[in-house]
Amino acid sequence: MDAFLTVDTLLPMLVGLPLLAAILTTLLKSYGLRTSISIAVALIQLVIVVALLSWLSNSGPSLDTQHQRYSLGGWGAPLGIDLTIDGFSALMLALTATLTLVLTIYSGYYFSEPHSQLDKTARFWPLWWLLIMGINGLFLSGDIFNIYVTLEIIGLAAVALVALDGSRAALTAALRYLLVGLLGSLCYLLAVALLYRTYGTLDLAQLSAIAEPTAITWAALALITTGLLLKTALVPLHFWLPLAHGSAPAPVSAILSALVVKTTLYLLARFWLDALEPAATDYGLLMLGMLGAAAIFWGSIQALRAKRLKLMVAYSTVAQLGYLFLLFPLFLSTGDTRDAGLSGSAVSAVAYFIVAHACAKAAMFLAAGNIMRTVGHDEIDQLPGLAKYMPLSLFTFAIAGASLIGLPPSAGFISKWLLLNVAIDTGQWWWVVIILSGGLMAAMYVFRVLNIAFISVDEKVQTEPKSSINEQLTVNKLPTLMPLCAFLLAILTIILGFNAELILDLVTIGGDV
């Protein structure tokens, strides 16, 4: 038993546990039982990840390769499939576990309302846990074909969750998301075929050791990039995202924006900066950065023009994704870590940005979901004076918005600060301009909502003393925990702002092996 219960065993447990939860929630009929199992599993998952993190940080940066791997079936890399972990993926796993716990509790309340149909919850929990399994599996996977399977799991589960709503708009968004997702995975699979044909291995680490800058590696990298950009929704391939994220149930929107789009970004970083690094030209890295800059502007403009609150938050995701792509050109000039895996100042900055954005965006979607649940719609223009009736949700929205803008002391501020530092250090001042103006535009769309919700309350109330929002609020009272979950995530962005070193230290672990 001693050999069985080593720390490595925690890695497959992160995949097995959600799968177990998915099976149990499929089989059980009672709603309460499904929810309590889900919350219990989410808690255990968080404990596992915390144990993993403490093990990783105790081992320090000198961790050797053997201990970062778990060979499923005991066959070892080229023949079998290995699970691997390094600082970056450990951080992503921790983020996943934290968000899963909060969103699971929130979903327990979100789907318990009398007007949400029972059969919807029967679908929601299995799909939810299969999605989490896919995300964990992707972050842990060290095998390019296995990554394809996890991509399909994430894609199909996400589509099914978007379609859960059952309205025509949601189904249409889901169908389009599915077609885009299938096209993306096919491009990826074609690249896998090319890589295996040339290098004869499916293992990421072995691939990065033997990859050469030949035509076929180029073609594979181009295909991978196209496929994953489609799934990450980088401008100009973002067309499917706003509707899909905007018409899903609130906890689903939250996890889609916070985690699902980041999984493909994580893969892009893996392939460009690590596995196929020899084929990654400066020109290509620069182009990814420029697309990112375009995304910041286009997403922000669309967010400013959006009429619905959830649509606005979804477009804000398009914009914020742009920042993450600045990783590629910034990594280019840091130079110091070109053959040291995923680490370095640019990677740290972007990893921190991912965490900050995930918390803020999840909080924002949950707040928007609360508003939609209470008021019955989310037309921005028709929310005047809402702050008086839903102070906590609006406060959550404001804090999360502050983080998106990059106001101190939020995590968003630190993440932008880190990005700016790298940009200045490497002498790429033009990115500084883009980062700062992106923050300005974020301020504009966040304040537009807050302005309507907070400031115009006096005028409106004076002219229409009997506000119809008031009536609705008495009809649809939210369970207290729903706004609290959102608030917790918003507070988390502030806490992270004060504890940036924790995250930055983690990313460096195991990077230089």
């Binding site: 074909f145 399977v149 399909e152 199909l156 589509v159 099914a160 379609a163 309205s167 025509r168 708009a169 189904l171 249409t172 889901a174 169908l175 599915l178 077609l179 299938l182 096209l183 096919l186 699979l189 074609l190 896998v192 075929a193 090319l194 295996y196 044909r197 499916l202 009429k307 619905r308």
Partner: protein, 98 residues
């Protein structure tokens, strides 16, 4: 001209035909057919590379294609299901969504 090259060309051809059909065809079922043709192309590339090894073909590639075929039918079923649901909801709910 070897057998492998022949099937390589065919596989890329299928991928291209499928991609063109996916972009151009307006009908949803045709888009789904096009995606399936694309996946056939990818599978053919995998199987053609497998057969190159003299003697026994590469079982890892065959296992990958088998996995791919099952994943493909899962995606196809999901797409057809969503399309059918949208169709049956019909015009009635058009007024509801903005």
């Amino acid at each position: 001209m070897t057998q492998e090259l022949l099937y390589n060309i065919a596989s890329i051809g299928l991928f291209g035909i499928g991609l063109y059909g996916l972009i151009v065809a307006p009908h949803i079922v045709r888009k789904i057919l096009a995606i399936n043709i694309m996946s056939m192309g990818v599978f053919m590339l995998l199987v053609a590379s497998a057969s190159n090894v003299n003697g026994t073909p590469d079982p890892v590639l065959h296992a990958m294609v088998l996995t791919g075929i099952v994943v493909a039918i899962a995606g196809t079923a999901m797409a057809l299901f969503l399309a059918g649901k949208i169709h049956t909801l019909g015009q009635a709910s058009d007024k509801d969504d903005h």
